[in-house]
Structures are given as structure tokens and as C-alpha cells.
């Protein structure tokens, strides 16, 4: 086993373990903190895949903005931080069935795929991933339309938030 594989396994177990803690812990703020550690694990996996830009964006957007907003929302809406009720409801078996069948389906699909045992081809020297990504996002032959649509969606969300919070005199 190479060092990279060991690091990947450690990070993957850390991420999955944190993800499990998010849904099993009874304390809502702890769940948010475990979510942060899950997201951080995903950022490390991005970094292992030589996607430094995505790793840093993951930290900025998910930890710096979304997770902090989660914690704010939990603190501002809840009197008691602890969830007293049971962790499961009556439909737990449906969720378990869907999860198991998705896992089984993915397992079945990926078993026949030879990409798992191949090693990735080396990144050519002088390849600037950030530059390529930036060019692709504004190039008409690539992703300019999805990029602009996503921007419009975000503006709509912003306008909606302002409308909801606006206090008419």
C-alpha cells in the first residue's frame, strides 16, 4: 500500500465516521460540528485528488458560510439544544431499504468497471487547473450557460431573502 492510499483510507473513515455522528448525535450543535468535520474530510479528499481549488472553496463555502449559518439558525430557533425525542421514526425501514438498494446497485455497477484498479495518468507539468477551470466557466463552448443560470438562481434567492425579511412600514 502506498502512502497516498493509507492517507485516503484514514480520511475516508474519518469522513464517514463524522457523517455517521451527524445523524446519530442527540445534540444539534454537536451535529453541526460533526457536519463541519465531514465537510473538512471531503475537502481533504479534494486535495488528495490534486483539486486544490475545490478543496479551498469547500472550506470557504461550506465551513465558512453554510455551517456557520447552520449553527446560527439552530441557536436562534431552539430553546433547548438537545433533541428529546427518539432518533428514529416508524419509516426507518424504508430509509434503510433505499440506502441498502442504492449501495447494492452501485456496488453491482462498479464491480464491472475497470476504472477502480487503474492508476490515474500523471498531470502534465505546467498544467494550471485553476486557469483551465476559470476559462471553462466563461467560455461559450463550455460552461458559461450553467454558470450564468446558477448566478441568476443565486440572485433570485437573494431577492427572495430580502423580500421575506423586509419590514414594510
Amino acid at each position: 500500500m502506498t502512502g497516498e492510499q493509507i492517507i485516503f483510507l484514514v480520511v475516508a473513515f474519518f469522513t464517514l465516521g463524522s457523517g455517521l455522528m451527524v445523524v446519530t448525535t442527540g445534540n444539534l450543535v454537536h451535529a453541526a460540528l460533526w457536519l463541519i468535520s465531514t465537510l473538512f474530510g471531503v475537502a481533504v479528499i479534494f486535495a488528495l485528488l490534486d483539486a486544490g481549488f475545490l478543496a479551498v472553496v469547500q472550506v470557504v463555502v461550506y465551513i465558512g458560510a453554510i455551517a456557520i449559518l447552520f449553527i446560527f439558525a439552530v441557536m436562534l430557533t431552539r430553546k433547548d439544544m438537545r433533541d428529546q425525542g427518539p432518533q428514529m421514526n416508524r419509516n426507518w425501514w424504508i430509509g434503510a431499504l433505499i440506502a441498502a438498494s442504492s449501495f447494492g446497485g452501485l456496488f453491482f455497477l462498479l464491480r464491472g468497471w475497470n476504472g477502480l484498479s487503474r492508476t490515474a495518468s500523471a498531470i502534465p507539468s505546467g498544467f494550471d487547473a485553476v486557469n483551465e477551470l476559470g476559462t471553462a466557466l466563461v467560455s461559450p463552448t463550455a460552461y458559461v450557460l450553467p454558470f450564468e443560470v446558477a448566478s441568476v438562481l443565486l440572485v433570485a434567492a437573494l431577492v427572495g431573502a430580502v423580500y421575506l425579511a423586509f419590514n414594510r412600514k
Partner: protein, 398 residues
């Protein structure tokens, strides 16, 4: 001679030779050398941090017409060591009902968020630490971890003042992140890269502060707000919140927050210097020796730190709603407009000589600043007239 030109690489090669000579595999030796390098950098930073306590106390006492620490050692230089011993032997108190793990993790994260920033600081042309091509974003990402540490400290202390302080501080930090990130894109436009070394190299002809003084100013304001220092120190407003998010911390855990804040201020001074004042460049001094380059960048960081202290100990605290309104209604739109103006002017003046480019850029910045101040003046006068008009009506009724 090669040690004096490229000290880190020479030392690493020398160590690699020794370690592989002992029968260690090359990869293991390189990992070990990497760890040693990180350890060396962190150790130097922590020692520097101890003296920053002394610098901060000496400077604030001059601003307040006092002498400051002057009893222990020459000029009170040994005072910080006495403070550290005091902090270490203090009783370590965890408040009742505190969330123990989160409570203990918060000071560590606070210190970490500052120390990881130094991974991308280019200290000399040959001492780059990590030359990350997304340095500007990394700066914001490290700030996000700092924000997290504050909310963790405030929540886990089980103290309402700590929680209010954390809420205020985090609201300020999350808000001022936006103009800071926007302004960080301006050196990126000039240098064509987000990497800190590329930005330093890009300032060969002229420092970016002369091309975009407004961006340098906005970065400084946003940095001070990120630091939570006066006039933006609403998070620890001692007259109402006692000490803010770190109220329940004692001993070395408080020391971590305090030392982290000082080092953070120094680090932001350094980033201000790297982004707008040429980093390790100073009239070709960096070509003479890498040690001189390190001295230059540390000196510039110290000047930036001094300016941050100067502002802190001169200005009054701003009310929280004014602070957020200032950010959302003035600084953020101004930063966005500045980014657009700079990008437009950069494209427009792309082909002209630098004798036209630099004044053109400078003038567009000055004009934009003037227009923004004029708009702010008119709208604030209107708001004042509204308030005074309402007052007169109310007085007439009495």
C-alpha cells in the same frame, strides 16, 4: 556559498544526505525533513509571538502616555516570559455545564487558523514555504476556521455574555469576509495569479498600492474587522460583555486566544505588505541575500501591524448596527464597484505603456473613492434630516 543563497534547499539536501546515509528510505527522509521544516517555522513564529506581546504592550502604553512594562529585564523585555509562567501555573477552570471537548478545542483552532496562514507566506525568492496557486482563497479559508473557533468558544462556555460576544464577532467576521475576498481579487487581476509569490513577483515595477490605493485601504479595514480589533471590537466590548467570547477561559487557554490575536494582527500586516507593498521586494535588497529578504518582509509586516495598533488605540468602538450597515451598505458595494472598475481599466489600458497605466489606474481609484464618499455624505445628510425633522415634530407636539 550556496547556503547563503538558498538556505532551505541546501539544509534540506544536507539532511537528506545524512538521513539516507543512515539507511532511511528517501521518501521517509523527505517526509521527516518536511515535518522538521514546519516545526522550525512554527517554533520561530511562536517565539516571535512572545515578543509581540511585549511590542503590543509597549506601543499601547506610548499611545496612552505611559511607559509600559519596564521592570523585568532591560526595557521590560522579559515581561512576556513572566506572563507566560503566570498563565501556565494558573488554575485551569472549566465552567459548569461547559461542553468540555468543544471548549478545549476552540483555543487550539483559533491558534491553528493563524499558524496555517504562514504556510503560504513567501519570505524570500527562495524561501516560499508552499507556493499555492490559490493563495488568496486560502487566506479566506483559514479565516473561516478562525470564525468557527470563535463560535465554538462562545457556545461551549455556557455563558450568555460569551455567546452574545461570539454572535457579534461572527456576524462581523462573516460580513467583512465579502469585501476582503472581493479586494483580494484586485492584486489577482494585476498579477494574473492568486499565488502570493506571483503577486510579489508582479510588483517588480511598482507596488500595487500605487495602482490601487483604494483596494489597499479596503483590505486594511476588512482585515481589522476580521481581527475583531477596535474600532470593530464589538465582540469583546468590555463595558457591556466583560470580555466577549473568551470570558470563561483562563490560564494558557486564554493565552492561546490572546497570542493568536496578536499573531493574527501581525500576519494580516504581513499579507497587507505582500499584496500591496511588494512583499520581500525592497529596491533589489531581496537579490542580495534571502536573509535580507526575510528581514524586509518581517519589517513590512511589523509596519502593517503598527498601523493596525495605531488605529486600534486611537479610534472609538463603533456600534454593532453601524458596523454592519457600514459593511453592507458602503464597503461591500464599493469593493464590488472597485473590482469592476479595476477589471475594466485593466482591459482598457492593457496595451499602453506603464507611464500611462499607473496614473490611469491611480486616478480611477481616487475618482471612485471620491464618488463613493460623496454618495455616502448625501445619503447620511438625508438620514440626519429625517431624524432631526422627526425630532422637531415631536418637540412641537409637546
Amino acid at each position: 556559498m550556496s547556503f547563503w543563497n538558498d538556505p532551505l534547499k541546501t539544509a534540506a539536501d544536507w539532511l537528506l544526505g545524512i538521513l539516507t546515509g543512515w539507511g532511511m528510505s528517501e521518501i521517509a527522509a523527505q517526509v521527516l525533513i518536511g515535518f522538521l521544516g514546519v516545526l522550525l517555522l512554527l517554533a520561530l513564529l511562536m517565539v516571535l509571538d512572545i515578543f509581540l506581546v511585549w511590542v503590543e504592550r509597549k506601543v499601547v502604553s506610548r499611545f496612552q502616555d505611559r511607559i509600559g512594562p519596564n521592570r523585568v529585564g532591560p526595557f521590560g523585555l522579559i515581561q512576556p516570559f513572566a506572563d507566560i509562567i503566570k498563565l501556565l501555573i494558573k488554575e485551569d477552570i472549566t465552567p459548569t455545564g461547559a461542553d468540555r471537548v468543544v471548549y478545549n478545542l476552540a483555543p487550539l483552532l483559533s491558534m491553528m487558523s493563524v499558524l496555517i496562514l504562514w504556510a503560504i507566506v513567501p519570505l524570500a525568492p527562495t524561501i516560499l514555504n508552499v507556493d499555492l496557486n490559490i493563495g488568496a482563497l486560502y487566506l479566506i479559508a483559514a479565516g473561516a476556521i478562525g470564525t468557527l473557533s470563535i463560535i465554538m468558544a462562545g457556545w461551549s462556555s455556557n455563558n450568555k455574555y460569551a455567546l452574545i460576544g461570539a454572535f457579534r464577532q461572527v456576524a462581523v467576521m462573516v460580513s467583512f469576509e465579502i469585501p476582503m475576498l472581493t479586494v483580494l481579487l484586485i492584486p489577482t487581476i494585476f498579477a494574473g495569479s492568486m499565488g502570493m509569490n506571483a503577486i510579489t513577483q508582479g510588483q517588480e515595477d511598482v507596488w500595487y498600492v500605487f495602482i490601487s490605493p483604494l483596494a489597499a485601504l479596503i483590505f486594511l479595514i476588512a482585515a481589522i474587522a476580521e481581527l475583531g480589533r477596535a474600532p470593530f471590537d464589538m465582540g469583546e466590548a468590555e463595558s457591556e460583555l466583560v470580555a466577549g467570547y473568551n470570558i470563561e477561559y483562563s490560564g494558557m487557554k486564554f493565552g492561546m486566544f490572546y497570542a493568536g490575536e496578536l499573531l493574527h494582527a501581525f500576519t494580516y500586516g504581513g499579507f497587507w505588505a505582500i499584496l500591496f507593498f511588494g512583499g520581500y521586494r525592497f529596491f533589489g535588497l531581496e537579490q542580495v541575500s534571502p536573509f535580507l529578504a526575510v528581514a524586509v518582509v518581517l519589517f513590512k509586516a511589523m509596519v502593517g501591524y503598527w498601523i493596525i495598533m495605531w488605529i486600534k488605540y486611537t479610534l472609538l468602538r463603533i456600534r454593532i448596527d453601524h458596523m454592519l450597515a457600514f459593511n453592507w451598505k458602503f464597503l461591500t458595494p464599493l469593493a464590488f464597484t472597485l473590482l469592476m472598475v479595476v477589471a475594466f481599466m485593466n482591459a482598457l489600458l492593457a496595451d499602453v505603456s506603464s507611464w500611462l497605466y499607473i496614473p490611469g489606474m491611480f486616478l480611477s481609484n481616487v475618482v471612485l473613492a471620491w464618488v463613493a464618499l460623496e454618495i455616502a455624505r448625501v445619503s447620511s445628510r438625508k438620514a440626519r434630516e429625517k431624524v432631526e425633522g422627526a425630532k422637531q415634530v415631536a418637540e412641537a407636539h409637546h
